[in-house]
């Protein structure tokens, strides 16, 4: 019985490792400048963890094979061991070194996006999440955002972010439920939430960030592939959380600039057209 269990553990270990090595269930393609670094970091982590996992499971199988009880007899009898302090210290230190090193390596990639300011010339888009809709606020042709005031929020008037229409720079501002950005140009998102905590997630962006009520959280990235990608809320935000989804559109420069210069009504129509034009996934540009 012990040997059967050992074989079962080895088979399960092999199958698990195969699921990762095969690549069939790997991440979707990366579409940002920081994506490859992020993926490399993940790969290193998964190799280290995978090797440790495989070694531990194979070891467990060996022990079962040697010491597992059997009616037929012939197995060695296990003996009690109090353990080895030296061994404990060694593997604790080795584990600590490996994990702290992985953390330090990963921190570099993460900090570039979250701790540093967005590069000069980044396009800025303000994101206001609400139950259960994404609102992306574009500054319009003048590149200036109008003032927003929570007292002016009126969903029935389609003023989801409380934009003060009379404030300077507000007239050409556009608020739509789709995130459109320009390829090869850094984008800065300023994230806020109207009600509860939400989380913006586009798997292809290798990027997930919470939006917290009362905070303006600034993040940035540079998309390098055009196309249409699903955008979801990744924080359970209420009964209809599953309905809180949208798209990220990465557009070629000419298409983006042309749309960004349009007055609000045409901007919205153009966005709808572009959403229909692009199939899901990346397209060469």
């Amino acid at each position: 019985m012990g040997r059967a269990l050992a074989v079962f553990i080895w088979v399960m270990t092999l199958a698990t490792v195969w699921m990762f090595v095969d690549g069939r269930w790997w991440f979707p393609e990366s579409i940002t400048a920081h994506g490859p670094a992020y993926d490399r970091q993940f790969l290193i982590s998964i190799i280290v963890v995978g090797l440790t996992f495989a070694a531990a499971q194979i070891g467990l199988g060996v022990m079962l094979w040697r010491y597992g009880s059997s009616r037929r007899g012939g197995n060695e009898r296990a003996v009690y061991s109090h353990g080895s302090n030296r061994l404990e210290v060694v593997w604790t230190i080795v584990t600590a070194v490996i994990f702290v090193s992985l953390g330090l390596m990963g921190q570099r990639v993460w900090a570039q996006l979250h701790f540093n300011n967005a590069p000069a010339g980044s396009a800025q888009i303000r994101v206001t999440a609400q139950q259960f809709q994404w609102n992306f606020h574009y500054p319009g042709a003048d590149n200036k955002f109008g003032r927003t005031d929570p007292a002016k929020i009126a969903d029935a008037s389609a003023n989801f972010i409380g934009l003060d229409e009379d404030s300077p720079g507000a007239k050409d501002d556009v608020v739509v439920p789709t995130l459109a950005v320009q390829v090869d140009r850094p984008v800065e998102l300023v994230l806020s939430a109207r009600d509860v905590t939400h989380s913006i997630w586009v798997p292809e962006l290798r990027f997930k960030q919470d939006l917290v009520p009362g905070l303006n959280i600034s993040v940035h990235f540079t998309p390098v592939k055009t196309g249409k990608f699903e955008l979801a809320c990744a924080e359970l935000c209420g009964q209809l959380h599953y309905k809180m989804k949208s798209y990220l559109l990465v557009l070629p420069e000419n298409e983006y600039r042309e749309m960004a210069a349009l007055p609000p009504a045409q901007f919205k129509t153009r966005m709808t057209e572009l959403l229909k034009k692009y199939p899901l996934g990346s397209v060469p540009h």
Binding site: H114, F115, N116, N117, A118, Q130, Q131, F132, Q133, W134, P150, A151, K152, I153, A154, D155, A156, S157, A158, N159, F160, G162, V175, V176, P177, T178, V190, S192, R194, P213, G214, L215, N216, I217, S218, V219, H220, Q239, L240, K243, K245, S246, Y247, A265, K268, T269, M271, T272, L275
Partner: protein, 298 residues
């Protein structure tokens, strides 16, 4: 001895069972909405039943809009492609003006006395219309935008869209309900037990969707059409306070005297300027958001 103990045990169990049952039934009684107590039987609280004499009058009128007509604001429905396909030219309906006339105004008799016997109309009871009013969700907006029902009249909420909606009826004096309605789901049928003007209805899935239900104790209410006109029929002769309510432009009140079989014209006028907003966006009170410097602040 054993028999006696078993009998005692059975007796004890029976008493306990009875106690539990009586407590449960008391609890159930409490849960039966106290809301139902007052107005479920309007005849008791409102007094005498009105019998039509055939001499009732009519109030008609037009709601004018005098301000600058707001630019139509288009609604981007890209987040739900089904909505966008069904209603590609959707615009907000908070102020609907056509040729200087204002639609979606709820007009109702607030109070007043009949000419015959000087009875307060609020103390009379009227037959509840058997007609079921329908609030439909079509093209991801509510049709009609404003709807009037009488206390006890049936309201049916239907979903004609190929997407799910969530009907959130935010009543204050009536029981609230907040119910999902998938495509093809049966209508949600409700009645209201108390007069309430007006109850906001919103869809949790599509935040732009908004509607209002006016619940009145009597059948003397109407909603102005696209051409700004309204008609209230069957009103006993008397002098009444007539209220015109608009979701964004506030409330106007006028006194109207209707004679027997008379058709009285009573117009209202709303300006586009600063009036009391009955639908304040300011249900939100937020402190200014903090910029987190450590997260690449500005």
């Amino acid at each position: 001895m054993m028999m006696k103990r078993a009998q005692m045990l059975l007796l004890l169990l029976a008493v306990l069972g009875l106690l539990t049952l009586s407590m449960a039934s008391c609890g159930g009684g409490e849960e039966d909405d106290d809301l139902a107590e007052d107005d479920a039987s309007p005849a008791e609280s409102a007094g005498a039943k009105y019998t039509p004499s055939g001499n009732e009058g009519t109030v008609t009128g037009t709601i004018a809009f005098t301000g600058a007509v707001p630019e139509p604001i288009s609604i981007s429905m890209d987040a739900d492609a089904t909505c966008g396909a069904a209603n590609p030219n959707a615009v907000v309906e908070d102020v609907v003006v056509k040729d200087g006339k204002l639609g979606n105004v709820f007009i109702y008799v607030k109070d007043g006395k009949t000419a015959d016997d000087g009875k307060n109309i609020a103390n009379l009871t009227f037959d509840v219309p058997t007609e079921t009013k329908t609030l439909d969700q079509k093209g991801c907006h509510y049709t009609p935008h404003v709807i009037g029902v009488m206390v006890g009249q049936k309201l049916s909420v239907t979903n004609s869209d190929k997407t799910s909606h969530n009907v959130n009826v935010q009543a204050k004096s009536n029981p609230q309900f907040n119910q999902s309605q998938t495509t093809g789901a049966p209508p949600i049928e409700k009645t209201f037990v108390r007069a309430e003007t007006l109850i906001p209805v919103k869809c949790q899935v599509h935040p732009w969707m908004k509607s209002y239900i006016g619940v009145v104790k009597h059948p003397f209410h109407a909603v102005s059409g696209e051409d700004g006109t309204y008609e209230i029929k069957g009103l006993p002769a008397g002098t009444y306070t007539l209220v015109a309510w608009h979701e964004k432009l506030g409330e106007k009140t006028q006194s109207v005297t209707v004679g027997a079989k008379e058709s009285k014209a009573q117009d209202f006028s709303f300006g586009g300027g600063a009036t009391t907003s009955l639908q304040p966006g300011g249900s939100f009170e937020m402190l200014p958001a903090l910029d987190l410097p450590m997260l690449g602040g500005h």
